[in-house]
Symmetry: C2
Subunit: 224 residues, 2 copies
DNA sequence: CAGAGATATATCGTATACGATATATGCACT
DNA sequence: AGTGCATATATCGTATACGATATATCTCTG
């Protein structure tokens, strides 16, 4: 019984650094536009530049970091245009992928989805925003059933991670939290019951409403 | 006048190796499942392992290579399931993105698209299959107008590259080439004229028909 | 005093070297 | 003879060291 055949190289320093720097970027600890000097990071983590470079290149590929030859890396700046693209892409991909996930899911996949849904629910109830972002991503992914839609999950994982940085901006208003909980519960119910049409509609609405709130927040930030 | 502000690090050995290995993978020179030993590649290219590793990690992120900690890299095997996902994702993203590209395109973008279309047409006419694959990718991308849909272009570029490896399998039959030329010409005409509905329909049909042929070829290969 | 050129400095990218991990080989043991 | 363990080997991952590039500082000139 060796279910996970392809351990995605997590036993290396590079992989750990990738996770760490990614977390700092999505949490805002490394601000958009901030420089990421290799020597400084290496010194801070007590390693050489090589795993640091590998981590930064990986994040570059994920779209969280911009790299310029011989001029270093920086946290990719936020932009309304990118936000628009992220949510347009999610809207194009995610609802259908959820429907397919509902079709493909086996018992353990269903348990994982329900479980993640519960954890997210609790985190939102207690206002644990830091974890809520990660759990939200995990929940949306679980509905896809990553094991059975490998490539789709990779693409969506990236989009969800990119989205997280924007959503963080406007998650404070508590009305939002309550609505998010309602929408997630409805999504999960439709997913569980295999109600494809309803799931499609709910997923589209959920993603759209998230983006609309975000766009409002961006506009407000733009006009001060 | 420094129009291209963000030179995407092409002046490094890693970047050149990435392009080279990618080309060998999509061309089939490195077969699916083949091992990619770092020392051997480094020796062959006359460089150290470090830029080789960076290139392999990049291709890992692109989905062309699988990496396993302490066990090395290999060319990602082909699978009918992956092919299905690639084309489902393209179908979800590409038609809309082309419509948006047609809306956003400025004069130079239009020239580039027309130009790439011509080159692709010629390559297909002369049966230059090796270049046709790359030009096909470039053409589809040009209709997106990558400069104005950065993230969408990144995602699609990846999907098109992944697709290329599968399409190569069944590109020989010359009936396919003629039809591809017709479909491309029609796409370009609708794009040029900003006929959104027609462009949507043509793009969907084009992607679907490509996948159907591919699926047939895969099935034939499966049954010998 | 402003601007162009040359030099200095900091950071980056890669070669070399070495310790760590996984697989393969050989041996003892049942 | 087959199974389990210890050793040997090959490859990987990372530290160290150094040459290369881009930017900043300084100097010289108009």
């Amino acid at each position: 019984m060796h279910s996970e055949a392809a351990a995605p190289l997590v036993r290396t320093m590079s992989a750990q650094l990738t996770a760490l720097v990614r977390a700092r970027i999505v949490s805002g600890a490394y601000a958009p536009g901030a420089a990421l000097p290799q020597d400084a990071l290496a010194a801070e983590f007590g390693v050489s530049k090589i795993p640091v470079r590998e981590a930064l290149l990986q994040l570059c590929a994920e779209g969280l970091v911009d790299g310029f030859a011989h001029r270093g890396f920086q946290v990719r700046p936020l932009s309304a245009a990118e936000a628009q693209e992220i949510f347009t892409l999610r809207l194009a991909i995610e609802p259908q992928a959820m429907v397919r996930g509902a079709q493909l899911a086996e018992a353990p996949d269903r348990e994982r989805a329900e479980d993640t849904g519960r954890q997210l629910h609790e985190a939102l109830a207690e206002g644990e925003l830091a974890q809520a972002g990660d759990l939200n991503r995990a929940f949306h992914l679980a509905l896809i059933v990553p094991a059975r839609q490998v490539l789709t999950a990779e693409v969506l994982q990236r989009l969800l991670t990119l989205a997280q940085r924007y959503v963080r901006l406007h998650l404070q208003p508590s009305g939002r939290l309550r609505r998010a909980r309602r929408e997630h519960a409805a999504l999960l119910a439709a997913w569980r019951g295999g109600q494809a049409q309803r799931l499609l509609r709910l997923a589209r609405t959920h993603i759209e409403s998230t983006y609309e709130d975000l766009a409002r927040a961006l506009a407000a930030a733009g006009t001060h």
